[in-house]
Symmetry: C2
Subunit: 295 residues, 2 copies
């Protein structure tokens, strides 16, 4: 059995690592925060004191950290993975970071004799705990096939999208659709309510036709209930839309509604509410309209 | 059995009227264009020469015309319904028009001793032909119950949303969600394609999670196939978003992404393509990016 490493034991990483341990794998773990390292060690993981040490002991190194600079530091910073890489090691980055930076990281690792997959996830904390994450994978097919058994321990809807960076690109596309569908539902329910119709009945009517979406179903109901506990936090979605908008600028394309959705998230964050669920984008539109859809 | 009237025998109205005739109802029909009047007369309808004449002969008058001014002309113009109304007549407007004007029309008809329901539909030509339309109804409950058997002959998903105008409000909300979800899918697939990923694989991956929608399913596939035959024409969706944006202005609310979606429809129309399916909103984004997602 391969020696596994796991770097990044936050809200997502800790339960994901837990599934690998529960399946009987030897897992070398590290996080800047020592508490989850100790916790997983008590369940059978091997505690490490740096990313370098994880790399020295592992054939497959999984990383899941908050943002692009964090991943760069884990891989190429002081005491990072690059300093301890075994020959032929495989890095599987499950963070949600820049597709463009991901391609560069893959090439830098290749130059060091290692291989890389990008494999960002969607499904949040609940998906991580229940091993029902969607996993969008970029990188060579043989590598995907080799790592897929581990993905199966952490997720359910696992898609090999294409080459290096394509998993991250797919994740950004996913976050664009989710944000813009939240805005679609928010603008529609606000219009309906301000025009005097019952937004709950409108939601029901719309679910029966072309307006149907999982966002209308789930986040539409959250808006009606004014139930904005996360779920998925606005500040994380701001990070993802930043990847979309930075990417758009450097790739040479225009994403006008993504830009506006980000501004509405910024407006909610300006009220100190960036830790609310992303369905709270509604609050910015309500403020502009001086009208609440219910309650 | 009630005497029925039907005014407006276009792409939608003609098949809808056909279902009422097929069910054995006496139907008095009128359209500015004599061809569909003759065609339905050959199937058993009673041809009329004006909206006034339809009203003189009918207890229930169904109208379905392109826009708010057309409906106003049919109801209150020269030789219009108001000139021929029977006492206690019921007007059922299945056009998609202004919710605000609808409330006014209902009050004007009430002052003339008649009653009104607004009952716009969604589902397009195919839904009209197969009697599978969604019907969103505004007006008093007793009236809804009285007319519902006729709706059942033309549609499937029939929802009583609320009072006068709420059916139209619901339809506008529907068209906001549909347009903004089309834009969500278009921005995401364009981003994915320009970043070098396969948009077909991205669509498949996204269908498995929170990004799922009927628009991603159907219109996303149309974008990949570059299959822009309508479907639902951009110029009709422009009309609907105009109702949303005019409504937003007069109700006092801001619909930023609806406004941008309308501008993108305008940009496609500026190329002479307003008779394409609304999924062709993608073409405007592609032009800005100087990039086609496939083909």
């Amino acid at each position: 059995m391969a020696n596994l490493g796991f770097i990044g034991l936050g809200i997502m990483g800790k339960p994901m690592a837990g599934h690998l341990i529960a399946a009987g794998h030897t897992l070398h773990v590290y996080d800047l925060n020592p508490a989850p390292v100790r916790e997983l060690a008590s369940k059978g993981a091997v505690a490490c004191t740096s990313s370098k040490q994880v790399a020295q002991k592992s054939d497959i190194i999984i990383t899941i950290v908050p943002d692009t600079p964090d991943e760069e530091a884990v891989l190429f910073g002081k005491d990072g993975v690059a300093e301890g890489l075994r020959p032929g090691a495989i890095v599987v980055d499950m963070s949600s970071i820049s597709p463009i930076a991901t391609k560069e990281f893959a090439h830098r690792l290749e130059a060091l004799g290692a291989k890389m997959l990008d494999a960002p996830v969607s499904g949040g904390q609940v998906g991580a705990q229940n091993a029902t994450l969607s996993i969008m994978v970029g990188g060579p097919t043989d590598l995907f096939n080799q790592i897929n058994p581990y993905f199966q321990l952490m997720g359910k809807n696992i898609v090999h999208v294409g080459g290096h960076g394509d998993g991250q690109t797919c994740k950004v596309a996913n976050q664009i659709v989710v944000a813009l569908t939240i805005e679609a539902v928010a603008e529609a329910l606000l219009f309906a309510s301000k025009a005097g119709a019952d937004p709950a009945k409108v939601r029901l009517a719309l679910l029966g036709g072309f307006a149907q979406s999982r966002i209308l179903e789930i986040h539409g109901q959250r808006m009606l209930d004014r139930s904005f506990a996360p779920g998925f936090r606005i500040r994380l979605h701001q990070k993802d839309l930043n990847l979309a908008l930075q990417g758009a600028r450097s790739l040479g394309l225009s994403l006008p509604n993504t830009a506006t959705a980000q501004e509405l998230f910024n407006a909610v964050a300006a009220q100190g509410d960036s830790d609310l669920d992303h369905s709270a984008m509604l609050l910015a539109l309500e403020k502009l309209a001086n009208h609440k859809i219910s309650g």
